[in-house]
């Protein structure tokens, strides 16, 4: 008999509506799982009382018969979302003690739909990273381990806490954010589903900014159906975010059964890396076969500027971040360094930021500062934004040719051991985003769906890239792969 916390969102929704169990029981089951999973270091703040209050309210709503899909569903929230009265630190020391007086639009939408927030989830500081190792709370741990090996692995990042919490059945769904792959890469590393919506689909208001032109919130869930349900709940126009689009939000769940028959799905040849592991290669071609066997037309397509996505991303994202993070100065909130006699405001800024930011954040802020500085703005930043235009144009061209979605691997590898990547060269870690950043640069929707296990018994994911505002068709493709792959593996519960 499965425990309640092991249910998917759609299963729990049905169970709640048919009164098999209550939202309070469901919340308690998750809270107990959270308590038992301290070793994974996924929750940086647990809000049990708030969760139970919300669950009680949800039970009332459900019994009145007026309950949206997310009503009574326990969720975890990445620490990047501002949550009123609840510690919000972006996993950084510099926001020590910060409790926002306001609630992000996306979390407010979830709460309004009746979801119960269990707490805040670990992440890479300010969402900068691909491993959730760079956190003031310490590294998050992936529930998955290699066969016959008890070394701890990274859940990916930066939404590693969110992905791992879903994989470990601590919550039914979680909110993450994706700037260059921060939802899809951890989803692939943990055998979960992760969606990065079209830029402008979800409001950024109240989400601590990393790179404004790339950041999007999105769900991490146990199934494609759950992703559709949760995505619908958090989507929609927000007048408080100038980049949020006034686009109708369809019922995403209704797209799932549409199938892929007759759809033209592209395989971008530039995504085939020189040193791609054969297992990834195999997974990718298996994915193509699954879609073809369900009637899709698989076509070879070219995105000629793919190679330049990663370097363009690592100019644009740090540049925006260097400016977005200037507000962390020890004056209005968060950490403030101690000064020695005779020191002034400049020392206050410099020491607060030196002590408050972690190494990776400081590195990116400095890179971003450099590429915007006098004499380099044209050569780096402007050039990167031009390359970005070309990357977007590549996609527009193939979409105009009738391609409805693209299939690619989600990551170049499965989950790596904590501490094993990027120690000597930060660029090594950046390469994790090689398949995902193009999607952010072009503002497109992308989804990572688990499609198999590698030799070591670790999950691997495939990515579907959709047309702008066409998350529905993208989800339908992912649903077809999920169905064909029949991925049902769960990690052993070694942490209990």
């Amino acid at each position: 008999m499965r425990e309640l916390n092991q249910l998917s969102i759609s299963e729990a929704r049905d169970g709640l509506r048919s009164r098999e169990f209550s939202a309070v029981e469901l919340a308690n089951s998750c809270l107990a799982a959270v308590d038992n999973a301290a070793e994974l270091n996924l929750f940086c703040e647990t809000t049990a009382e708030l969760a139970l209050d919300a669950a009680r309210m949800a039970d009332v709503r459900i019994s009145s018969g007026d309950a949206p899909s997310m009503c009574g569903i326990p969720v975890g929230i990445k620490d990047l979302f501002c949550t009123a009265g609840v510690s919000t630190q972006a996993a950084s020391k510099i926001l020590q003690g910060f409790k926002p007086e306001y609630e992000s639009t996306v979390t407010a939408r979830l709460t309004d739909a009746g979801a119960t927030m269990l707490g805040k989830l670990n992440m890479d500081e300010f969402a900068m990273g691909s491993s959730t190792e760079h956190s003031v709370y310490g590294p998050a741990v992936n529930p998955w381990r290699a066969k016959g090996c008890d070394r701890k692995r990274s859940p990916g990042g930066s939404s590693g806490g969110s992905a791992a919490a879903v994989a470990a059945d601590l919550c039914l769904g979680a909110l993450g954010t994706d700037t260059g792959g921060s939802i899809r890469q951890p989803a692939a590393f943990t055998g979960t589903v992760g969606v990065k919506p079209t830029y402008g689909r979800c409001s950024r208001w109240g989400i601590i900014a990393f790179a404004s032109s790339l950041d999007q919130a999105g769900p991490l869930t146990k199934s494609v159906r759950d992703a559709a349900i949760m995505l619908e709940a958090i989507s929609g126009h927000d007048p408080k975010d100038s980049t949020s689009a006034n686009h109708e939000v369809p019922n995403f769940e209704s797209f799932l059964e549409r199938g892929v028959a007759g759809k033209k799905i592209g395989i971008p040849r530039e995504f085939r890396l020189d040193a791609m592991p054969s297992e990834i290669e195999t997974l990718w071609s298996d994915g193509a076969k699954m879609l073809r066997s369900q009637g899709a037309e698989i076509v070879d397509v070219s995105l000629p500027h793919t190679k330049y996505a990663l370097p363009a991303y690592y100019v644009i994202a740090p540049a925006e971040a260097s400016s977005n993070l200037a507000r962390y100065d020890g004056v209005r909130y968060g950490y403030r360094a101690r000064l020695r006699d005779g020191e002034g405001i400049v020392e206050l800024y410099k020491r607060t930021r030196a002590e408050g930011f972690g190494q990776e954040v400081k590195r990116r802020v400095m890179i971003g500062t450099y590429v915007l500085s006098q004499g380099f703005y044209e050569a780096y930043y402007r050039r990167a934004q031009k390359v970005r235009s070309l990357i977007k144009r590549d996609f527009e061209k193939i979409f105009a040719e009738g391609v409805e979605a693209l299939l690619t691997p989600a990551t170049p590898s499965s989950a790596f051991e904590i501490g094993s990547v990027g120690k000597s060269d930060p660029v090594e870690m950046y390469l994790n985003d090689v398949f995902t950043v193009t999607v952010n640069l072009a503002g497109l929707p992308g989804i990572s769906v688990p499609a198999g296990l590698d030799r070591q018994g670790l999950p691997l994911g495939l990515q579907i890239i959709g047309r702008p505002w066409d998350e529905g068709e993208m989800l339908a493709c992912a649903y077809a792969i999920e169905d064909a792959a029949g991925f049902s593996a769960k990690p052993d519960r070694w942490w209990i």
Binding site: G206, I207, A326, Y333
Partner: protein, 493 residues
């Protein structure tokens, strides 16, 4: 459109050891948009509120907060651009200007460097009648104001108030076309006048709603090269601006004549010593790392919308002045006075409508403005309305009252209100024009003063004394022209 012919004023020169120097001045004027709420947030712009009370989470740069632009501010920028006869850019962009300062919570100011909303324009600045400098506007852009740091509340700390943070400013940047401190002051006052006519900025310099950064350089007289300039920051008084420019230009001349080099820097004017000094906090070389603000999209406006805004632009000072001269026959000087403020001009037009323009100008300037000045009132607070003043002028024109009585009636209306015609009627102030009545009054005076009559016949100038006596005896009501004529007749002059 009427275009006045002007001559260019002479540049102000500073005599040096080896020749004359001339000053080259450009201004960056910051005009606060007359909006209720801020440029990118919904908090109030009201002046003088409790510290940090007109501040919301966006202004305080709380994590995750985002800007949304105030459409009223966009419209005011466009209106101002149209008022400056400038090119309106249908597509503009917002950039972030990055620097650290306690009163700049975001760590950047949202401004418009690369693609401002308004392009080149011009302002005609009259320095005296017949002389004007055409000052070209380089561009106008929208930006956020910073907050305020108070340094004198505590010996060891500075206090930060963010009430002003995020208030919309229009930065109006001129070319270095100005050649004297007086021109600089006249330029600011002209801009202020235009802004107030448009209603886009209240022009209150005391509250800092209109202030300027002044760029000053010097060069040998007649040279067409630009020297190295210094920027004097944050000036909000035309008097101090003139003093600062004068001091700064002389300082630079002294350096150059000494064989030295002017260092391009930001300076602060100290009014108590009348000098400028280098700003310590701005000493280090700045690198603002401007880049397009990723929280905002390009601002696109349509030609049709700009046209509709243009349709709502009122007549501006230059055109109004020209029209007043043309239509009402007033002098250029009087036209300047009458068009200083839109309210004043409107009052004058109401008074002058259907009446003699020169008389109306005379009365509005000398009687009304004089009286308002004395009481420290503005035209909108005037106890005498334009129609009341018009009625007085009508009585005067109809010779129902004399000029002297008209002033008395004006004073009565000022203090007590009322309809001037009724006042004249009820208080018996109506001028006596009855030939017989005046003749008998004159005769009585002549009879009573036989010696004076003799003297007047010898010296006709003495006749004026009789006119005065008759006016006195009639309580000022007799028509002075008739009195004069009858006195001369009876004296056989």
């Amino acid at each position: 459109m009427h275009r006045m012919n002007f001559r260019e004023p002479e540049p102000k020169t500073i005599a040096g050891a080896r020749g004359d120097w001339e000053m080259v001045i450009g201004l960056e004027v910051h005009a606060q948009v007359s909006s209720k709420s801020k440029l990118f947030s919904g908090s109030s712009t009201e002046f003088g509120a409790e510290p940090n009370s007109n501040v919301d989470f966006v202004d305080a740069a709380m994590p995750g907060m985002l800007p949304v632009i105030n459409e009223f501010c966009v419209e005011q920028a466009v209106r101002t651009g149209l008022g400056l006869k400038a090119k309106i850019n249908l597509r503009s962009e917002f950039d972030r200007k990055n620097y650290f300062y306690p009163d700049l919570p975001q760590g950047y100011q949202i401004s418009q460097l690369y693609h401002p909303i308004v392009g080149e324009g011009e302002v005609t600045v009259e320095t005296r009648q017949g002389f004007a400098r055409r000052v070209r506007i380089e561009h106008l852009h929208l930006e956020q104001d910073a907050g305020k740091s108070l340094h004198d509340l505590d010996p060891n700390c500075s206090y930060v108030d963010l009430n002003r943070t995020g208030v919309a400013l229009m930065e109006i940047v001129s070319y270095p076309d100005i050649r004297s401190p007086e021109e600089a002051a006249a330029y600011i006052l002209k801009l202020r006048q235009i802004l107030r006519f448009l209603g886009t900025c209240d022009g209150n310099m005391q509250n800092g709603n209109l202030r300027a950064d002044v760029n000053v350089s010097v060069r040998p007289k007649g040279s067409s090269n630009l020297g190295i300039r210094c920027e004097i920051k944050n000036m909000n008084s035309t008097k101090f601006i003139q003093q600062a420019i004068d001091y700064e230009a002389r300082r630079q001349v002294a350096i150059l004549e000494d064989g030295g080099k002017v260092v391009q820097e930001t300076r602060l004017y100290d009014a108590s010593s009348g000098t400028t000094r280098s700003m310590r906090s701005k000493e280090e070389a700045h690198d603002y790392r401007y880049f397009p603000c990723p929280d905002l999209l390009p601002l696109e406006i349509s030609k049709e919308w700009v046209d509709s805004v243009a349709a709502g632009i009122p007549e501006l000072p230059d055109e109004k002045k020209a029209r007043f001269i043309r239509e009402f026959g007033v002098t250029p000087y009087d036209a300047d006075v009458l068009t200083a403020e839109a309210d004043n001009a409107a009052y004058f037009e109401d008074v002058a409508a259907g009446r003699d323009g020169k008389t109306a100008a005379n009365w509005v300037i000398n009687e009304l403005f004089g009286r308002l000045n004395k009481d420290g009132k503005s035209v909108s607070e005037s106890p005498v309305s334009a129609s009341q003043l018009g009625a007085i002028l009508d009585l005067l024109a109809a010779k129902d009252i004399s000029g002297k009585i008209a002033k008395e009636v004006f004073e009565i209306v000022w203090n007590e209100g009322g309809d001037p015609a009724m006042i004249v009627e009820e208080r018996g102030l109506k001028q006596v024009t009855d030939e017989r009545a005046i003749r008998s009054a004159v005769e009585m005076v002549l009879e009573a003063n036989p010696d004076q009559v003799e003297r007047a016949r010898a010296n006709p100038k003495v006749a004026g004394w009789f006119v005065g006596q008759v006016m006195k005896s009639t309580g000022g009501k007799a028509n002075p022209a008739q009195v004069n004529a009858i006195v001369r007749e009876l004296l056989e002059l």
